[in-house]
Amino acid sequence: MTTLLLFQTLVSGIILGALYGLIGCSLTIIYGTMRVVNFAHGDFVVAGCYAPLVLLGLLGLNPLLSIPLVFIGFFGLGMALYYLIMPRLRRADDPELASFLSFYGVSLMAGAAMLYFFDADTRSLNYSFHPSVLHIAGLLIPTARVVALAAGLVLIALLTWFLYRTLPGKALRATIMNPGAIGIIGVDINRLSGLAFGMAIGLAAVTGVLIALVFPAFGPFSGMDFTLIGFVVIVLGGLGHPVGAILGGVFYGLAEQLSILFLPQSLSPVVGFALLIGTVMLRPAGLFGRVGLR
């Protein structure tokens, strides 16, 4: 094995990890603010994969230019879903379990809807950049991956700016830290949660656009894979910790890509879940979380 191959793998791990981190970040915003276990999260990522396909086919729109449209559309969808489902979930005796079951149902429905519209065959985004491969420091990196990483970093920067520099972002972080304190200081937690849910679904779908650029194929039932990755990533990063989720995603991406390089192919999917179990056993607050964060 050459050093070059190892570096190639590390770069791939970082690129994919940043995307996994974005999935985890949007998932943890929902869990952190609402204690909702969104088991349909990966389905919104997959729906986001299909979105540039549709926009490219219908309008000839460059996938990167489709990002704002996808975000706005899925933000609206997320808000609508929130107000449709959450009022009832909030009244449940065990909202976390109720949300888990409800969103499992949403996941099944989303999968069925995508099957109806896009058939069972896997699809790929028929869009290529020129040149298709970049030579960087002796490494060969597909341009689509570099573009996806750059777009992912821009999204992370925007998200960090929103969470740390704007008042609604600060309120969102405050809700994640102490949901019981937010209402008593006059902030409408329902409105804020609706905003958070819409934003997280929008972010999940935009991550899907970037995944469509990077992944060779996706299908209507790929959602569960992304949901599971999202959960692994947020446990790794620390539940309810958006920045931790990004770092957890990079950690997961590196572990996944290195395992493909070093382990038999059949064992590589196990690595992520071994990391999950190891984290839960040894560091329940996550790699970047803190005990008693809330």
Partner: protein, 237 residues
């Protein structure tokens, strides 16, 4: 003085336990009402009912003539009632300035102006130098002070203080008391729940004593101190 808050025949039942039993009282404008009683007497339950964390089983709570029961905590806060807790509910991994900014989420003023106000308030209690520290880095007493300032950011007319002096260093208690007096002079009203009877007697002209969810006495400090039911409730038969 006209009543700012009117509580009438308030009753709160948890399963078979009657936590508050037909309680009535008023809080006049520009006043500090002391609410005392032994543990389990129902003080915190009354506070929870007023700020919407609990919905009373029956009875009414009117603030400036408007019925509060059934409203959500954020609506009650918006109506003009703030609240602090025995264990401060700060946003632990946010700076003090950020903690003070969250209540004014919907404020139309520029962010710089909001930050300036937050820093000015922190300076008023000698915490300006800690403005960029995380709330979790403060002592318990300092956290209680910041919680009071956070309440003041949305400028409520009535402030519910739940055990503000419990576990607080005497020097910080003095700062806290000075704050209460200063705000009282500015026209704010308070309901003060505390086990520190000396402070309650000093701050409140009118005191309400609860025992097992019922009012057993009310009046000035001098009336309460010698009241046989109060002595019995606090010291036992």
């Amino acid at each position: 003085m006209s009543a700012l808050l009117e509580v009438n025949d308030l009753r709160m039942v948890f399963g078979g336990v009657v936590a508050v039993h037909g309680l009535s009282f008023t809080v006049p404008q520009h006043s500090i009402l002391g609410l005392i009683g032994v543990n389990g007497s129902g003080k915190s339950t009354v506070m929870h009912c007023i700020n919407g964390l609990y919905h009373p089983t029956s009875g009414s709570i009117r603030f400036r003539g408007r019925e509060l029961t059934g409203h959500k905590p954020h609506e009650i806060a918006a109506a003009g009632i703030g609240r602090t807790f025995q264990v401060p509910r700060l946003f632990r991994r946010m700076t003090l300035v950020e903690n003070l900014m969250v209540p004014v989420l919907n404020d139309a003023r520029p962010t710089a102006e909001i930050i300036e106000r937050a820093e000015h308030m922190l300076a008023g209690v000698d915490l300006f130098h800690l403005r960029h520290n995380y709330a979790e880095e403060l002592s318990g007493g300092q956290q209680k002070l910041v919680e009071l300032l956070r309440v003041m950011m949305f400028d409520p007319e009535l402030i519910l203080l739940d055990e503000p002096f419990a576990g607080v260093h005497p020097s910080l208690c003095k700062v806290f008391i000075d704050q209460i007096n200063r705000l009282s002079e500015q026209g704010k009203s308070f309901i003060l729940v505390s086990h520190d009877l000396t402070s309650v007697y000093r701050l409140s002209r009118h005191i309400l004593v609860l025992d097992q969810g019922e009012k057993i006495a009310e009046g000035g400090a001098e009336d309460i101190q010698d009241h046989p039911d109060v002595i019995e409730a606090f010291l036992g038969r």
